[in-house]
C-alpha cells in the first residue's frame, strides 16, 4: 500500500520520496554527506520503493543503470567478436562455409564456426540480447521519467534551509539592503534568460528544464530503431532480389510481381586513363587499372493491365536511365542498384560447314547459346541440324555427355550435317578444343569461325519500408541527445534570512557555464559569489587541510 509522506511545508509526497518535491527538504537524509545527491531530484522511483513481489524484482532489475550498462557492454563485446573473422555473408562466393573457416584460420576458425559466430548477428542469443537491452531502456526510462516529471512540476520557490546548504554551490551574503539586491539579482537573471519566480521575497530562477527530457526522447528514438530493425522479418516490409540481365535482354523485375520490366541495353565499364596527369603516379603504383565507372543503360517498362499467365504482357515505357554505383534507379517504392557485372560472356558461336576433301566452305551458321535454333538451312541442299546442345559440358558418371548448368560456360554441340552427297547426314561432336566424329569418318566438318560475346549486369532490387521507421527513430534519437547534451538545466535559489541572503545553484551538467552566470549575477547585484564545495574539497585535501 502506498503511503504519502507529508512534508513540513505541507506538500504531500508519494511513498519513497527522498527530497520533498516542493521545498526540497531531505526526508530520508543521512546527515554525514555534505552535498545532497540531486539525481532525479530525490524523487520516488518505483524501483527504489517497492522491492517485494516478483514483478517488483523484474522491474527493479531492468530499471537499474548497472544492468543497462552491463547489457550495453555485452552487446559491444558480441559485435566485436563478430569482426574477428569474416561473417558467412562476406566469405568468397565459391567457398564452402563448412571448410572455409578451418582452412583459412585453423583451429580458431573451426571453433568460430562451431560456436556459430560466423552468423553471429542473426543468432538467437544476439537477438535476445538486443531485446533485453530494449526492455531495459523502456523500463529504466519509465521508472525515472514519471517521478522526475512530477518533482519538477511541483517544485516551489522557497526551499528548505538544509536543501539550500547542501548544494554543491552555496554562499551567504550579509546585506545592507536585501530588497534592492534581490531586485537587481532578478533583473540580472532575466537578462541571462532565466525564468524568475518570486515568493515571500525569495527568488527562484530556472532555465533549460526541457533538456531534462532529452534522455527519454532519445530512448524513444532507440526503441523505434530497434522495432524498425525487427520489422524486416515481416512479409511485405522488405524485398531484396537479384537480377542478372544480359545486354539486349528484357526481363520482369523480380520482387515487383511482374509489374515492371527492364531492358538492359549496354553495360559500361570504364577505368581511369593511365596517362591522366593528375593521377599518373597513383595509377602507376596501383599496378593496374582503377575503376572509374560501372554503368548499365536500361529502359524501365510497366506492364499494362493485369498480366495473364502465359501471355506476353503489354509494356509501356516508363523511362530510360543509366544506373550507376551510388545512383540507383528509383521507381514506385523500389530502388534498382548496379551491383555486379560479368564482362564478355559467350553469346553466339559461328560455325562454317567445310568439305574436308577440298576445304571448300558451304555456308556459315550462328548458334545462339541461350536459345539455339534446331535447324539451319544453308541452301543448295546443305542444311545443319543441332541434335544436342550442352551449355556447360562434362562427362557424367556413365561417361555420357551432359550439362552442369544452363550457363554457357563450356558449350558443346552435336551437329548433323546434311549435304547432297550425304542426304542421311553425318554426325559431328564439337566442344571447346574438341572436334570428334563419333559415328565414323566424315567428309564434312563444322569449324568454329566466330564468337560473339556480351556483358551481363547484376542488379539488386530493393524495396524497404523499414528504412523510414529506422530513419525516423534515428532522427528522434539525435534530437533527444542534442536536447540533453547541448542544453542544461540550471537553477538558482535566493533565500532571505533576515539581513542575510542565501544563494544555492544547481545544474545537471556544465558547472562552468553555471558559474559564469553566477559571476555575472554577483557582479550585477553585489551578492557574494557562492563557493564550489567540490573544488574546495580537493583543494583542501591536496594541501593537507581539513575538509
Amino acid at each position: 500500500m502506498s503511503q504519502d509522506i507529508v512534508c513540513d511545508c505541507g506538500h504531500k509526497n508519494p511513498e519513497g520520496t527522498i527530497l520533498c518535491e516542493a521545498c526540497g527538504k531531505p526526508l530520508k537524509d543521512d546527515e554525514t554527506k555534505p552535498i545532497l545527491n540531486m539525481r532525479y531530484e530525490g524523487s520516488a522511483r518505483r524501483s527504489q520503493t517497492y522491492k517485494k513481489t516478483p514483478i517488483d524484482k523484474i522491474w527493479n532489475f531492468f530499471s537499474s543503470v548497472k544492468v543497462g550498462i552491463t547489457l550495453i557492454i555485452l552487446v559491444l563485446i558480441a559485435v566485436a567478436i563478430g569482426t574477428i573473422f569474416p561473417q558467412d555473408v562476406y566469405i568468397p562466393a565459391n567457398a564452402d562455409p563448412e571448410t572455409f573457416y578451418k582452412d583459412q584460420y585453423g583451429i580458431l576458425g573451426e571453433w568460430y564456426k562451431a560456436l556459430g559466430f560466423d552468423h553471429l548477428y542473426n543468432s538467437w542469443w544476439f537477438v535476445i540480447l538486443l531485446g533485453l537491452l530494449g526492455l531495459s531502456i523502456i523500463v529504466a526510462s519509465i521508472d525515472r521519467f514519471v517521478p522526475l516529471h512530477r518533482a519538477l512540476k511541483n517544485q516551489k520557490v522557497t526551499r528548505h534551509d538544509r536543501f539550500m546548504k547542501k548544494q554543491r554551490l552555496f554562499g551567504v551574503t550579509l546585506s545592507n539592503s536585501p530588497e534592492k539586491q534581490l531586485e537587481m539579482a532578478a533583473k540580472a537573471l532575466k537578462e541571462k534568460r532565466y525564468r524568475v519566480k518570486e515568493e515571500d521575497g525569495n527568488l527562484f530562477a530556472e532555465k533549460g528544464r526541457f533538456s531534462r527530457w532529452g534522455p527519454y526522447v532519445n530512448h524513444i528514438g532507440l526503441i523505434i530503431v530497434l522495432i524498425g530493425g525487427m520489422l524486416r522479418f515481416f512479409p511485405g516490409m522488405y524485398t531484396n532480389e537479384v537480377l542478372w540481365l544480359h545486354e539486349g535482354e528484357t526481363a520482369s523485375v523480380p520482387g515487383t510481381h511482374d509489374q515492371y520490366y527492364l531492358t538492359n541495353h549496354q553495360f559500361i565499364f570504364q577505368t581511369y586513363d593511365p596517362d591522366d596527369k593528375k593521377y599518373k603516379e597513383a595509377l602507376k603504383d596501383a599496378g593496374g587499372a582503377i575503376a572509374k565507372n560501372y554503368q548499365s543503360n536500361v529502359t524501365l517498362y510497366k506492364a499494362e493491365g493485369h498480366p495473364i499467365l502465359g501471355e506476353e504482357p503489354k509494356l509501356k515505357k516508363v523511362k530510360n536511365a543509366g544506373v550507376r554505383v551510388n545512383h540507383p534507379l528509383k521507381f514506385d517504392h523500389y530502388q534498382l542498384f548496379q551491383s555486379d557485372y560479368r564482362l564478355g560472356e559467350l553469346y553466339k558461336m559461328n560455325f562454317k560447314l567445310i568439305d574436308k576433301r577440298n576445304n571448300q566452305p558451304h555456308g556459315e551458321i550462328s548458334v545462339n547459346l541461350f536459345n539455339p535454333k534446331r535447324l539451319y538451312h544453308l541452301g543448295k541442299g546443305f542444311r545443319i541440324k543441332l541434335l544436342d546442345y550442352f551449355p556447360d559440358f562434362y562427362f557424367n558418371k556413365k561417361g555420357e555427355p551432359a550439362s552442369k548448368s544452363d550457363n554457357p560456360n563450356n558449350p558443346a554441340f552435336i551437329f548433323k550435317m546434311y549435304s547432297p552427297d550425304h542426304p542421311k547426314g553425318e554426325t559431328n561432336f564439337i566442344a571447346i578444343k574438341k572436334n570428334l566424329e563419333p559415328l565414323g569418318k566424315n567428309d564434312y566438318k563444322m569449324v568454329l569461325s566466330g564468337l560473339k560475346t556480351r556483358n551481363v549486369s547484376g542488379f539488386v532490387v530493393k524495396r524497404d519500408f523499414t528504412i523510414w521507421i529506422v530513419f525516423a527513430g534515428a532522427i528522434i534519437f539525435l534530437i533527444g541527445v542534442a536536447q540533453g547534451m547541448y542544453w542544461n538545466h540550471r537553477r538558482i535559489w535566493l533565500k532571505r534570512k533576515g539581513d542575510d541572503i542565501w544563494m544555492s545553484a544547481l545544474t545537471n551538467k556544465n558547472w562552468y557555464g553555471l558559474k559564469k552566470d553566477l559571476h555575472y549575477l554577483t557582479g550585477e547585484s553585489g551578492l557574494s559569489e557562492p563557493v564550489d564545495r567540490l573544488e574546495e574539497k580537493i583543494y583542501r585535501q591536496e594541501r593537507g587541510m581539513k575538509a
Binding site: N37, V65, K66, I69, I72, I73, V75, L76, V79, A80, G82, T83, F85, P86, Q87, V89, Y90, Y105, G106, L108, G109, Y121, Y272, K278, Y279, E281, A282, L283, I290, A291, K292, N293, Y294, R324, V325, N326, H327, P328, Q335, F337, S339, V460, K462, I467, V470, F471, A474, I475, F477, L478, V481, M485, Y486, K509, N510, W511, Y512, E535, I538, Y539
Partner: protein
C-alpha cells in the same frame, strides 16, 4: 608551384606551429599553482599567445586541405593519409572550441602534441593524388567523412583532457597498477613516434626487399617491404637480398598486404621500447611522474568536466556522421543501410562505448578518475578503428 606542393608546405607549417604551440602551452602551465590568491588561472597571457599560434597553425592546415582539394578534384579524405590528417585537423578544431569556452591552458598541453604525432603518423602513408573508385563518387563522401572526423576529434579531446586529469591526480610517489597503466599509455605514444621515425629513416635510405607470396585475394604476387623483414609473408619466398625474415606472419592476417604491415607493427613496438627507455633514463623517473610536475597547475574538477563535456558534444556528432550519414550513404552505394561490415561494426562499438560512458557518469563514484580512464579507452577504440580495422581486417572500407 603545383597545388600539391603548396599543400605539402602548408601541412609542414601546421606541423611546426602546433609543435611550437605545445611548447608555449607547456610553459604556460608549468610550475603554476592550482589557483593563485585572486583565484585567476595563472599563465593566462602565455596561454593566449599559444592559442594564437594554434590558430595560425590551423589556418595553415586549412591551406593544406583546400590546396589538396583543388589539386585532386575531390575532397581530400579518401585514403589513410588524407583521413588521418583531417582527423588531426578536427582535433585541433575541437580544441579551439573548448579553449574559447573554457580559456584553459591545461587542455592544450596534451591535445596539441597528440595532433602533431597524428600528422606525423599520417605522413608515413602514400601521398599520391588518387582518383575515386565508383563507390566513393558521392557527395556523401564529404558529408559522412567530415562529420565522423569532427565527432572523433571532439571525442579524442576528451581522452587528452582525461589523460591530463590522470597525470595530475594519480599518486606517483610509489608504483601501483595506476602508474603502470599510465606509463603504458606513455609507451603507446612513444610507439607512434618510433613508427614515424623508423618509417622515415628507411624511406630516406630507399630500403626494400621483395617476397613472392599468395596475396589476400589468393593470387600470386610480389610483396615489397620497406623495412627489414622481421616477420615475412606466410609461406612467402624471398626474391631479393636483405635481412630476415626471422619468422612468418600468421596466416589469418587478411588485410591488404597484411604481412608488411604486421612487420611494421613489430618494428614500431620494438622502436617504442628503445625510445621509451631513452626518455626515461634521461628523466630518471617515470614519464608520467615528470609530466605530473608540469601539470601541477591544472584544476582537476575542471579537467573532469571538460573531458565529460567533450563526450557530450562529440557523441551526437559522431552518431550523426558515423552511423546516420553512414547508413544513408551505405544504402545508396552498397544497397543496404546496415550490413555488419567490420568498419560499420567498429563505429557501432565506438557508439556503444560512449553510450556506456555517459551512463557510467550517472553512477556514483564514476566521476573523475574512473571516467578519465574510460575516455582514454575510448580513444584507443577510435584509433583501433582507424588503424587496425583498415590495415588488418578485410572489409569494404579497406581502401588504403
Amino acid at each position: 608551384m603545383s597545388m600539391v606542393k603548396i599543400s605539402s608546405i602548408c601541412l609542414l607549417a601546421a606541423f611546426i606551429l602546433y609543435t611550437l604551440a605545445t611548447i608555449i602551452f607547456t610553459v604556460a602551465v608549468t610550475g603554476k599553482k592550482f589557483r593563485n590568491k585572486s583565484g585567476e588561472n595563472a599563465g593566462k597571457w602565455i596561454g593566449r599567445f599559444g592559442f594564437i599560434v594554434t590558430i595560425i597553425g590551423f589556418i595553415a592546415q586549412m591551406g593544406y586541405f583546400f590546396a589538396r582539394w583543388s589539386a585532386e578534384g575531390h575532397v581530400p579524405v579518401s585514403n589513410l593519409f588524407e583521413y588521418t590528417t583531417f582527423f588531426s585537423m578536427m582535433m585541433v578544431f575541437a580544441f579551439m572550441i573548448i579553449y574559447i569556452i573554457y580559456r584553459n591552458n591545461g587542455v592544450g598541453v596534451l591535445t596539441l602534441p597528440i595532433a602533431v604525432v597524428i600528422i606525423a603518423y599520417a605522413s608515413v602513408f602514400p601521398h599520391e593524388v588518387e582518383p575515386l573508385i565508383p563507390a566513393l563518387q558521392s557527395n556523401w563522401l564529404k558529408v559522412h567523412v567530415t562529420t565522423v572526423a569532427l565527432g572523433e576529434g571532439i571525442l579524442s579531446l576528451s581522452a587528452a583532457t582525461g589523460l591530463v586529469y590522470l597525470l595530475r591526480v594519480v599518486d606517483q610517489s610509489k608504483p601501483s597498477k595506476k602508474t603502470f597503466w599510465l606509463e603504458f599509455v606513455m609507451y603507446s605514444i612513444t610507439v607512434m613516434i618510433a613508427f614515424v621515425i623508423i618509417s622515415f629513416s628507411f624511406q630516406a635510405a630507399h630500403y626494400n626487399e621483395k617476397f613472392k607470396w599468395i596475396n589476400e585475394k589468393g593470387n600470386e604476387a610480389v610483396l615489397v617491404y620497406h623495412m627489414p623483414a622481421i616477420a615475412g609473408p606466410y609461406e612467402g619466398e624471398k626474391i631479393s637480398g636483405g635481412f630476415g625474415p626471422l619468422f612468418p606472419s600468421p596466416s589469418w592476417m587478411n588485410g591488404v598486404e597484411a604481412p608488411r604491415k604486421f612487420n611494421t607493427v613489430i618494428w614500431s613496438l620494438l622502436g617504442g621500447v628503445v625510445l621509451y627507455w631513452i626518455i626515461r633514463l634521461i628523466l630518471r623517473q617515470r614519464i608520467s611522474a615528470a609530466l605530473q610536475k608540469i601539470l601541477k597547475g591544472v584544476n582537476p574538477p575542471l579537467m573532469d568536466e571538460i573531458s565529460y563535456r567533450s563526450v557530450a558534444i562529440g557523441f551526437p556528432i559522431f552518431t550523426l556522421g558515423g552511423l546516420v550519414f553512414a547508413a544513408i550513404w551505405a544504402q545508396q552505394a552498397w544497397t543496404r543501410f546496415w550490413g555488419w561490415d567490420p568498419k560499420e561494426v567498429w563505429a557501432l562499438i565506438t557508439f556503444l562505448f560512449y553510450a556506456a560512458y555517459l551512463h557510467f557518469r550517472l553512477s556514483r563514484g564514476w566521476h573523475g578518475e574512473k571516467s578519465a580512464w574510460l575516455s582514454v579507452i575510448g580513444f584507443v577504440i577510435i584509433m583501433f578503428n582507424l588503424v587496425f580495422v583498415n590495415l588488418v581486417i578485410a572489409g569494404l572500407h579497406s581502401y588504403a
